[in-house]
Structures are given as structure tokens and as C-alpha cells.
Symmetry: C2
Subunit: 292 residues, 2 copies
Amino acid sequence: MSAHPRLSMNQATLKYAPLDEALRLVVAGGYESIGLWREPVLDVGLAEAARRLGDTGLRFSTYCRGGFFTMAEGAARRASIDDNRRGIEETATLAAAGAPGSTPIFVLVAGGLPEGSHDLVGARERVADAIAELVPDAEAAGVTLAIEPLHPMYAADRAVVSTLGQALDLAEPFDPAVVGVAVDTFHIWWDPEVLPQIARAGASRRIATYQVCDWKTPLPADVLLSRHYPGDGVIDFASLTRAVEQTGYDRDIEVEIFNQQIWDAPWPEVVARTAESFGAAVAPHLVASVTA
Amino acid sequence: MSAHPRLSMNQATLKYAPLDEALRLVVAGGYESIGLWREPVLDVGLAEAARRLGDTGLRFSTYCRGGFFTMAEGAARRASIDDNRRGIEETATLAAAGAPGSTPIFVLVAGGLPEGSHDLVGARERVADAIAELVPDAEAAGVTLAIEPLHPMYAADRAVVSTLGQALDLAEPFDPAVVGVAVDTFHIWWDPEVLPQIARAGASRRIATYQVCDWKTPLPADVLLSRHYPGDGVIDFASLTRAVEQTGYDRDIEVEIFNQQIWDAPWPEVVARTAESFGAAVAPHLVASVTA
């Protein structure tokens, strides 16, 4: 089997597959790259996970995920910052174990409003503070922190960073090699400012990673699980992908899907469908395809 | 019973109450104002509805709703434009029948992507075209069109106008007496630009109506029904209400709730709870209260 050379399987798409299975299936599916999640990596241990990743010859595209640091100062915040520091180190280790072209990117999901809080402005300020605190660690480790804006429907309980423009504002004080953004079609497709903000992200070299999946209604009862294969919904992958490519972005592109039906499907089928949907909906709009 | 003098009951909060019942309950609850919906008005006929409204002595705050004009040119689009023209006339008739202080405001919900379309940019252009087409009718009737940005989670299937900034961009070419915006806390609370955009709306005299209800997670299976009484969720009514008031907005403020449990509750209880929640969560931040 084959897959587009820039396609990377985000491990969350194969949520229930242990690391070994995910690696084996992705290699068998002809992929060249994978994005890993902390839990399955730490389930086998970092050193062992890095060794197994290295054995596959796959590139490592991103590590998901850090963040969740909107709480006020105190023990919980200190624990979160420390956990993010470990995530940064893990990212560096895994990227070093991956094939050439691996990218040491640690994706940050900000976290929602603390329980009982109405102070969205304050929560956002604490995100900025946390990033500032983590920057020296990321820089020392050679890791890029990718601030991921999440769809505004998650603003209360998952991520107070809601637009690409806001993520770029947060990133701006820092070296773009150290703080960038995650551009995920599902989260930003609706934004009237999406194309100028992608251009802005490109101009400041902030697009750490480009992730694709689709939006389709009606939303499922758990809106966290409303992501679909590219092409199965309403997102215009042509305009978004071209906009990202036009910035000079030339890294791997991940497909990250949270969807109970897809999680419950046979894993080889998911690997194949992911490659097919990427090939049909996204690949035609990549620079190499467009100029070929 | 009493209610804040600027509180207006949006009829959708009493979805299953016929017009007569809604009017009677709102008067009994001590309200001075009501926002009406087309379906229950047309159920009894416009002239009769206007007569009954006039008999109550209530102010009329808004008429919900027009819009749904994202489709390409053709019979369906013509039917939508014609229907909006009727809505404008109905708005004028009802506002004339309401007590002094009534406001002839017709709320516009843009509509989602046409079936099978991925062209969000094109759908948004067709919204602009439709508004331009309706402006002469609204101006002639003395009606203000209120473009309502809806939460981005509705961008695909209900409203391609997703932010206050976008709504203001759409309104900008026109006289603010003819085209304004609806500022609804539920739809815009998450927006990092919300406070500057409220200020911008005020500076251009575009805030046609301010509507309040709350956001709470987890969202229900039908995300359309996820609106709550002010104070029951995470929205910061203090900062948003003060920002609106600081623009000089001095009209009625509607509580509009789509929520199956609230719809199923006894209507007098809903009328009372709405007034109580408004009194507790919103009223303390109104100018008269702040400066009193």
C-alpha cells in the first residue's frame, strides 16, 4: 500500500491501537510519518517508544499534547508546568529517534476555564504566562511549541485559545523556531479571517504543523468526537491547503480524527481510508501536485 | 410580579406558548417588553397579532427572524428575498402597535452552506448581496435590519456570519439606522476580539439589539438547544454588558433561550426565572444600576 509522502498519521486517529500496532499499521499502509500521543508512548516508556519508532524508519511529525495551564498559580499549575517540561523533553527524544525530516513539535492545547470561573481574559493571560515560562526549556531542547487554537465551541472546557489570530498574538513575542502555531482545518475553517491569518502565520514562519480533518453536521452528542475524514464534510481543503502551501510550508501534514465510529472501525481500514481521503481531498492542492 | 424595566422576553424562550399566552404571561410577570417570532405571529395573523400586542401595553423589541439567503440565484433565493420583504413589513406593523419605545428591528440569521457546497466565501458574498437588496425595503419601512453573528459551531448549517467583526463589516456600507447588528452573548462571548468589536459597533451606532443567555458545558445532543439562563454558565455578563452599555446602548435587552428543559417547564416559572436571572446576572451591570 502507498500513501502520500507528506501524509502523517496522527496516532489519535487510531486511538485504541497500542504504540506497536499503530507503528506497524502505519508502515504497512505505506506512510512515511507519524504523530504520537503521550499516553501510548508513556505506556511503553519513552526510551522503548523512541527505540521502536526508530526501528520503523518513520518520521516523527508532532507530539500531542501539552498545555492545560489556565489555572491560577498554585500546586496544580506547578504540576502542569512540570508536566509540560517533561513533554518537551519527550518531544526532543522522539524527534531524534525518528527518520531524517522528523520535526520536534510539541502541540499545546491551552485548557478551558477553571471550574467555576467566568474570567476568560484572565485564563488567556495565564496561557501567555505559561508559554513564557516554557520557552527557555523548549529552546534548550530544540523543540517548537505549537499553540493550537481550538474551535470556539471548546472555549469553556478545553481551550481558551480560539482563533489563529489569537494564537499568533500569543506566539509573537517569541522566536518562531521556539513558538509557532498548529493550523488545524477543523478548528479554523469557519473563521472569516482564516486566509489572512494563515498568510500572517506564514510571513512570520509560525506554521509549526498543518493538520487536516473535516467538519460535518449534525454534530455528535459528544462534540469532541465530531471530526471526519477529509472530504466527508464541508471544509474547503483547496483554499486552506493552498494558503498554507503558499507560505512555503513543506512539512508533513497530519490527519487527526476523533470520531467514535472511526475509532471502532478495523485499524487497517482506518489507515487505508485516511490515506485515500488525504489523497483525494488534500494532496491535489499541495505545491508539488499543483506545479507538477 | 416585577421585572427589570429594560428586560424583554424573547418569545422563543416560551417556544410552545401561543401568542396570547405569551403576551398574558409576560404582562403578568411584570415585563414591559417582548420580542416576537414570525411563526406564532402569523399563526394568528399579522393584524390580529398587532392588535393583541397593542392591547397589552408592552413594548416590541425585535422580530425574529429573517435571513436564510445564502443560496445561489434562482427560485429559492427569490422566495427567500420576498419572504424577508414580508418580514420587514411585519416588523414595522408590530413596532407601530407596541407601546412607545418599541423598536422596529428585524433580526437576520444568514443561513448555512447550501447543501453539498464547500464555498463558505461565496455563501458569505451572497449574504452581502441579499442585505444590499433588502436595504431599500427596510429604509422605506423604517426598519433596522440586525445582522446576527451566530456561534461558529453553526457556520455550516445555520449561519455563515460567525463573528461580530464580520457582521459589522457586512453592515458598514449602509446607514446604521437601516443595518445594524445583534449582539448576543451566547454567540460571541468566546471571541478574543469581542470587547473591541463591541466598542466598534457602538462607535458606528450599529448595536440594534443586545440579547443575553449563557453558555454551559457539556453541550446537549442538539447544540442548537444549548442556551441557558444568564448566570447558569460561564459567560462574564459583567464585562460584556458594561461594554455594551458604555457605547450608549439604552434599549431593551432580550433573554432568548433555546433549551428543551426550559421549554418543557411551566411557563409562569420560566417567566419568573428569566426575570430573576436577568436581575441577578445582567441588571447590576447596566448603566442606571452602576451609576445609581
